[in-house]
């Protein structure tokens, strides 16, 4: 009776684009009933820079640094997708040492990106200490890249035909030290967060993403593997020399925030495994194939796809035989994960919004392009 006589209204809450935990300039139009999310509409575009169009006005090598700024937490995988597509067009064969160095760059980036995920996810759940612990280890990776190519965030390690520089003396040793250090630190995060009752209460069973829905929405990466689908491009469509490396594709069948979190934690350990193999097997030789000053791939089209820390990052390049691409099209995994977000949010509370949003680990740089 009382229920009927009181008129309640839904509240529209604009979460973002300036908000502590929207991971960049994302705006979520939430429709709330008290604390419960009735509906959600992600509004994107605040970071749109027209990167795809820029690609048409730059030469092939010139466009490469732009890709660094897409998924800025893992610049190497953006580089890789673009470079793979262009190399496919040109029919370029990359020296063996360069392939190993590329994988090292990719996996270091993957660890760095997952560390940022851990940091921000912890921060979203008010575990600020986890934030600083993860950032502390990420700093070591940044130092490695600074040592290698001079840049820390937008590294442009990749170049057409190889990598920009050979690794300096001492790099391999320092990278080995890091590989020895990290598993212990991941144990530390586990002790701090994973076993914590409050953390489990906040993540277990929250933000369910059934595998069918995940596949329908073209999810990929840890978001998909957290729903129990073992799809990893490093295994499904190996590039560089992933087919020669020994690693496990981590999945978790719980489909919730905890599952996606655990997948990323395990992937850090797997990345360390890959890194150790690469560092042990690193052959001597050239790091860059001969590429002329003017890059003119023959007319045609090619698609490069890599397993970025967030999922399948793809780059589709159309060439008309000129010095710049006719069309560059980028497939950003975060974009698809944002599309499925409203489904995951419905019925959960405001506090869960940040947890669920954090668990799909989006980067607006690649969503808005």
């Amino acid at each position: 009776m009382l229920q009927q006589s009181i008129l309640t209204e839904h509240v529209t809450l604009n979460m973002g684009p300036q908000h502590p935990s929207t991971h960049g300039v994302l705006r979520l139009e939430l429709t709330l009933e008290g604390e419960v999310v009735v509906d959600c509409r992600p509004v994107i575009g605040y970071l749109h820079r027209g990167v795809e169009k820029i690609g048409e006005a730059r030469t092939y090598p010139q466009f490469l640094p732009y890709t660094d700024r897409l998924d800025y937490l893992s610049s190497a995988s953006n580089n890789a997708a673009y470079v793979l597509a262009v190399e496919k067009l040109m029919g370029l064969e990359v020296p063996e040492r360069a392939k190993y160095l590329r994988v090292i760059a990719l996996e270091l980036n993957r660890i760095a990106s997952h560390l940022v995920f851990l940091a921000t996810f912890g921060n979203d759940l008010a575990a600020t200490t986890a934030f600083l612990y993860a950032i502390r280890e990420r700093e070591l990776i940044m130092d490695l890249f600074e040592m290698w190519v001079g840049a820390r965030l937008t590294q442009s390690t990749f170049k057409l035909g190889g990598v920009s520089d050979d690794v300096p003396e001492g790099f391999v040793q320092q990278a080995r030290d890091f590989c020895r250090l990290l598993p212990g630190r991941v144990d530390e995060y586990d002790r701090l967060l994973t076993g914590n009752r409050i953390f489990e209460a906040r993540t277990r069973g929250v933000g369910l993403l059934p595998p069918e829905v995940a596949l329908d929405y073209a999810c990929s990466g840890p978001t998909l593997r957290g729903s129990g689908v073992a799809f990893d491009l490093r295994r499904a469509a190996p590039y560089e020399m992933y087919d020669r490396l020994d690693f496990d594709v981590v999945t978790h069948s719980s489909c919730d925030c905890l599952g996606r979190y655990l997948v990323r934690m395990q992937e850090m350990r797997q990345s360390v495994r890959i890194l150790q193999q690469c560092l042990d097997q690193l052959p001597e030789g050239e790091v860059r194939a001969k590429v002329g000053r003017v890059v003119k791939p023959p007319a045609g089209e090619a698609y490069g796809r890599v397993e970025s820390p967030r999922g399948e990052f793809g780059c589709y390049v159309v060439s008309d035989g000129g010095t710049s691409p006719r069309r560059v099209r980028l497939r950003a995994p975060s974009f698809f994960h944002l599309a499925v977000l409203p489904q995951m949010l419905r019925g959960w509370k405001v506090g869960d919004v940040v947890a669920i949003l954090g668990s799909i680990d989006i980067v607006l740089g690649e969503v808005d392009r």
Binding site: I198, R202, G351
Partner: protein, 346 residues
């Protein structure tokens, strides 16, 4: 502030034509102001302490420039900065409510210190040991909730409103176990007077050492943390969800008042825990006031340690924890204490 000073001041006032009762009222007012100043200074120290402790836990350095190597003056600088900030009131805010709210939160946070026994003679000599000391605490510390709701409503901001709703729900829910935990002590001591409660613990018979009261202490600490909005119960101001909760729209000194109130409240929760469970100022060798502060700071550091280690709960989890676990547990504690008192085991 010895007894001599008190006599001199009273003498001075009386010879200048004031009746004796007004003179003693003036004296008590002076003492109350002294307590308030002391609390505010303590808050500055607490903020610094929190920064240093969190820095240690997070393998950072923390403040290390302002005021020497340990950044001792950092909070002073922050307070000055806040004082000089522009004081903005949102265009659509309910001005009266918006302006009044910080004071309604701030004043009760200081008032409760009037019954804290910092030393053995403090309350008796300089203030007054209220007959209903514990009841006074319970009554006054329930007041800030109104201020929080006013802040949330007056701001005309959805985040602030959500934060205020959470603050009220949480504050009311945790008040019950908090009060029941205090009731355990009252039952054990047989008095609501703070002096009697401390007196019952003298000679090392602190309440924390007697059986059902450990349970009461744990409940008091948890509920106290919820009352002062510390992680894992910081939902009313959950930064990652609600930006800053009920004080989202506040700036400058108005914001600082909320901040001061929160830390003063934290200090009070620890100080009152010391009073209720740890024999207040009792301890060997060192002066009573020092012992009181040592115990209080130990509890504060424990609370900060927890705050920087665990994540935040969700609002429904916070509420069900209060109603399904803490309230029954505190009722059990009261019953156990009653049985222990009746059968003379306490």
């Amino acid at each position: 502030m010895s007894g001599g000073a008190q006599d001199k001041v009273l003498q001075f006032l009386i010879t200048h034509g004031l009746p004796a009762w007004i003179a003693s009222a003036v004296w008590m007012l002076l003492m109350a102001i002294a307590v308030i100043i002391f609390v505010l200074l303590t808050v500055l120290i607490l903020v610094w302490l929190e920064r240093k402790i969190s820095a240690d836990l997070q393998s950072r350095v923390g403040p290390n420039r302002t005021g020497g190597r340990f950044g001792l003056m950092q909070t002073m600088a922050d307070a000055l900065k806040l004082l000089m900030k522009e004081d903005t009131i949102p265009h659509c805010a309910d001005r009266v409510v918006f302006i009044l709210a910080p004071f309604l939160v701030f004043v009760p946070a200081l008032l409760v210190f009037l019954v804290v026994p910092f030393t053995d003679q403090w309350l008796v000599k300089y203030l007054r040991d209220l007959n209903l000391g514990v009841l006074f605490v319970i009554a006054v510390s329930a007041l800030p909730v109104i201020g929080l709701l006013m802040a949330g409503w007056g701001s005309n901001n959805k985040y602030a409103m959500l934060g205020a709703m959470r603050a009220v729900a949480q504050g009311m829910s945790y008040e019950i176990p908090l009060v029941l935990a205090m009731v355990c002590v009252v039952v054990a001591a047989g008095s609501l007077k703070v002096g009697d409660i401390v007196g019952a613990q003298l000679g090392g018979h602190w309440f924390i050492t007697r059986f059902p009261l450990q349970l009461a202490f744990v409940i008091y600490l948890i509920a106290g943390m919820a009352e002062v909005n510390r992680v894992p119960f910081d939902l009313p101001e959950a930064e990652s969800e609600l930006v800053a909760g009920y004080f989202t729209e506040y700036s400058g000194m108005r914001f600082a008042l909320f901040f001061l109130a929160e830390f003063a409240h934290l200090f009070f929760v620890a100080a009152f825990a010391t009073t209720l469970f740890f024999g207040a100022w009792e301890g060997p060798v060192l002066p009573p006031a020092v012992w009181f502060l040592i115990k209080t700071y130990a509890i504060i550091i424990l609370i900060m340690w927890i705050r920087w280690t665990v994540p935040r709960l969700r609002i429904d989890q916070v509420m069900s924890f209060a109603w399904k676990l803490l309230v029954p547990a505190s009722l059990l504690a009261v019953a156990l204490t009653g049985i222990a008192v009746v059968y003379g085991k306490l």
